[in-house]
Structures are given as structure tokens and as C-alpha cells.
Point group: C2
Chain length 324, copies 2
Amino acid sequence: MALEPTKVVLLAGGVGGARMAEGLARALPKGALTVIANVGDDEEFYGLRVCPDIDTLLYTLSDRIDRSQGWGVADDAVKALDVLRDLGAPTWMKLGDADFGLHIWRSWQLVQGKNLSDITAEAAERFSALATILPATDDRLRTKLLTDEGWMDFQAWFVGKRCAPSVGELRYEGADLAKPSARALQAIAEADLIVVAPSNPLLSIEPILAVTGLRAAVASATAPCIGISPLIGGKAVKGPLARLLDDLDIDATSHAVARRYGSLLDAFVVDSGDAADALALEEDGLKVLATDILMGGPEGAERLAREVLAYASEKLSKREPGLR
Amino acid sequence: MALEPTKVVLLAGGVGGARMAEGLARALPKGALTVIANVGDDEEFYGLRVCPDIDTLLYTLSDRIDRSQGWGVADDAVKALDVLRDLGAPTWMKLGDADFGLHIWRSWQLVQGKNLSDITAEAAERFSALATILPATDDRLRTKLLTDEGWMDFQAWFVGKRCAPSVGELRYEGADLAKPSARALQAIAEADLIVVAPSNPLLSIEPILAVTGLRAAVASATAPCIGISPLIGGKAVKGPLARLLDDLDIDATSHAVARRYGSLLDAFVVDSGDAADALALEEDGLKVLATDILMGGPEGAERLAREVLAYASEKLSKREPGLR
């Protein structure tokens, strides 16, 4: 029975996730894609709520993104940040002026009692983004890293320290108390296909799945689930993944990444060059699509998205409801 | 006994007050001037505290001001405001990006429990402003206007409606509960001279004096008090004063303005052309300096400030403590 994905859910982090989202949005009919975003990297700056992964998704899917760096708004300036620096505030987190517009609006909406799901979905709509964007949870969840300099917030480690301190442990603080976004749960339940973006499994995907009940919702969905490897030849295209895997003594292979998602996956997409991973995954009982997974720009992302969707249509089918 | 003003307090509103402050700061030794600012025009935008008069003072005294319009930061942009507009927020209050930097910082400091006096004084110091700047009160005080369209906030009337609705009544909401800034009270008590800027008496000076205990503090200070008329030939140099006086059936004369300040004043400065006002004020028992009170730019403001200071040194002396 061929799958006709008209409702697709993507679990995604920031830069790589946003690129995959853009590819899928271009390949799918309008309104078909819902992205469920990681909020583990969220942080308050000057009392304003900044959601780096949601922001990158919003900017990418509304073509506001600074494509040369993959995050932030194109042609943005830092007049506000310069004033904050003059006033003695710490300014290691590079927040642009247009960027501040979004953070101010979001914080204002939160203070008025709206939840992050409604706020994020409204921002995506107002920005005419190519997909619905939702946080994994409206509750507080923060990725903390135990480094050789002690426990650190993600942004402090990633931006503030440029990933220099080595990492011994990760914790998704608040995950046990966080409930999944109701709208995210609904999207998962109604989906024809669930895609796990080639985002950092430890810093982007697992904080989503750590939200109490969210992993179970994916597991019990009737939609098949296909993941895309973030590694090519054991190396990450961008970001601190390879480094983090090394710190945490995890194999830097597509096989090892897929195993972390365990029984959630029906299929996994690996790079054509990673034949050993493909073989190992098939031995684990997973369906495997081996292809060129380097997205490059939006066209490359669309090409990969079309391959993934075609593969899903041909090889995957709806599952029986019930926990995997 | 000649007065040697080494500690001068200026009561001031926004644009005209800031110009007078700049003139005095240029004429006085460094550290001699403390400006006590009106907060009746303050308002929250998107959850951020905006203090238009304090901001204009900060920007003017740190040479950041957009001199062509008299408010806002020179060469500022509106990237944040454009995003807020895209997100459906009302954007009639023109807040620039550098401007937002200050509002974000101030709001963040307030949330941390600091009072507006300490925040404002710190901002002035961090900006290397030519004077100490303090709000009249740390408490909530808002100027409300009863117009032919009902009660309105000041900014909604002034910026939002461009002063179009006619005004029947003014109210300084919260003035009865507001306590004067402790630092402002100290500055008044220690001053050698108190100057009332040529600001709008109804919208800038009276909301300062309406703070419970502040008028009494000026009245009981040992420093003599000299005011400068905001009117030349019955016309205001800038802003909605003449219009407002007309609406409220108050004579548009320097004499009528000085009478509103009553016994607080020892002397008043009027324009050379307003001889009838000078005469009437002298008949009221006030000392009068008649000179060219049009400030124009910073040089003109400094010229007027030097004349006022010289006049005060020559003609005014310390007062016996006790209420006037």
C-alpha cells in the first residue's frame, strides 16, 4: 500500500533541521509540513526569551535567514546590542536588531499568558513561513552540559565558549516535568509520515524526545518514521556533533546515531559513501536509503527531500496503532 | 552675598528641557548638574518600559541624539520595529533599534528589582552623559488627558493622534501615591540653585511637582529657584503647549506660566520681547531676567545658561530653610 504523505511532521533542531524543513516544504504541497522544534537551547537574554532553533526555522522558512551563516536575519545590524554593551551588559550572544524584534514580540506574548506553541505558530503564519512551526513543549526544558568547567547552559558553552570545554554529560533539565505541546501531539497523531531531521541527535533530537510523552507519541503514531543521518563519513556537516560524540565516547557513525533512536525508526537515510552503516542498519532490521545526503543549499535540500518522500511512498506504510 | 552655583538641579521634560540641560552642563563644571526628569510620559511598549523624557535627556547629554528631530538616536534604524509590524503589533510609537537597546536594558534592570533612579543614573554614567539624570519618582505616575475622544495616555494622544483631540482636563495618575526619588530629594536638598527648564508646564514640570512631597522639597530647599519661560510672544518654540493652553483656557503668556509655579520661584526668565510679562511678574514680587530665551542649538543653550547662572550669582541668594 503506497504512502501518500500529505501531512508530514519533521523533528528538527536549528541550522541542519531548518535546511531539511525548507527542502521538505518545497517538495510538499502548501500546508503539508509541521516542524516540531527543539527548545533545549532556549535561553533568556536581558529578560527576553530567545529560542535559537525556532528562530532559525522561522527565518529559514520565511526566507529571512542570513544564508551565509545559516542563522540570524539577512542584512541585520547590531545597534541594540551595541547599546547594551555600552550599558555594561554581557553581549557574547550575537542578537541582531531584526532578531530583537522577534524576541521582544515573543516575550511580550508570553507575559500576556499565551503559550509558546500558539506564539510560534502565529509567528510562522505572520512571517508567511513555508511550514507550521511548533515547539516540542510549552514548558521549560534546558539542555545543560557537564563540562570540565562545571555545568553550563548550552548557549554559554556553544556561543560563549565556542565549544571549548569538553563535555562529560548532558542533561535535559525540566524534561521530566515538561508536557508535549498539545498542537505538536495532534500533528504527530495526524501525520502520514514522521521525519527525523539530520540534526544533532544529542543536542536537538533527543531533547525533543525527552519531553515526557513525546517519544511515546511518536512510537504510537500510525505514521512511519524515517530519520536522516547527520554524519557523512563519520563527520558532521556543521556544528559540534563529531566533537561531542568523541567527548561522550559514542561512535561517530550513522549506525550509532540510528541506534539511539531505537525502535522509533522504520527507516534511516545514510550517505552513499557509508556502506558499512547501511549494512549494519539493515542487519538491525531497518529499511535503509543510501543516497547523497549533503544538502548544500535549498535546491540540494529539496532534492534530498524528494528522494526521502519518494522512498517513503514506495517502501513505507502506515503502522498499526500501539507502542513500538 | 553672591551665589556660586556648584550644585545645580534642573527640573526638566524632554526636548526643551534636554536642550537647557545641555546648555547648563556646558556652562557648569563637570559633575555640577543633576537633572530631575518627568516620568508622566512613560509607557510600556511590548512589555518594555519607555521613558521618553529620560531618554531624550540621556541621548542629548551623551551626544547620541538625533539633532534634526530633537529626540531618538542619530542614524538609528527601525529593523526591530519592522519585524514587530510584520508580527501584527501596533507600531505607531517610533522606537529605533539603538533605542530598543536602552529600553531592553532598563526593563531588564527593573525586573531584577533595581529602582528607576539607580537605573537612570547608571545609564547616564555608562553613556558618559554630561549630567546626572534622575526620575522625579521611582513609582508609577502617568499623565492622562481627558479629550473629546475620552481619557487617553499621553503618548497615544501626542504621537498616536498627533495631538488632534482637544483636551479638557489633565490628570497625573498615581501622583498621590508616588514618593519622590530619594536621590532626587537629596540633590534638591544639596543644591545651590534650582532651575525650572523651559519645558511644557502642564505636561513636563507639573507632573514632577505633583509627586507627593517633591513640590514641598523644592519649596523648603535653601537653594533659590529660577524658572525659564517656555513661551516667546505667546508661542511655544516647539510642541503642543500653546494648543494645550488654549484648550484648557489658560493665558498663553509667560506671566500665566510663572504664576502656576507660584511661590516656588524666586526669579523668572522671560524673552526680551515680552515686556508686559516682565512688568507683571515684577509686580507679583518676582525677580525677572529679560533676555533672548530662544536657545536654537547647543551654543545658544549654553549662552542662555551662562546668562541665567550669572544672573543667579548676582541677584539671588540662599534662602532660609523652611517652606515658602
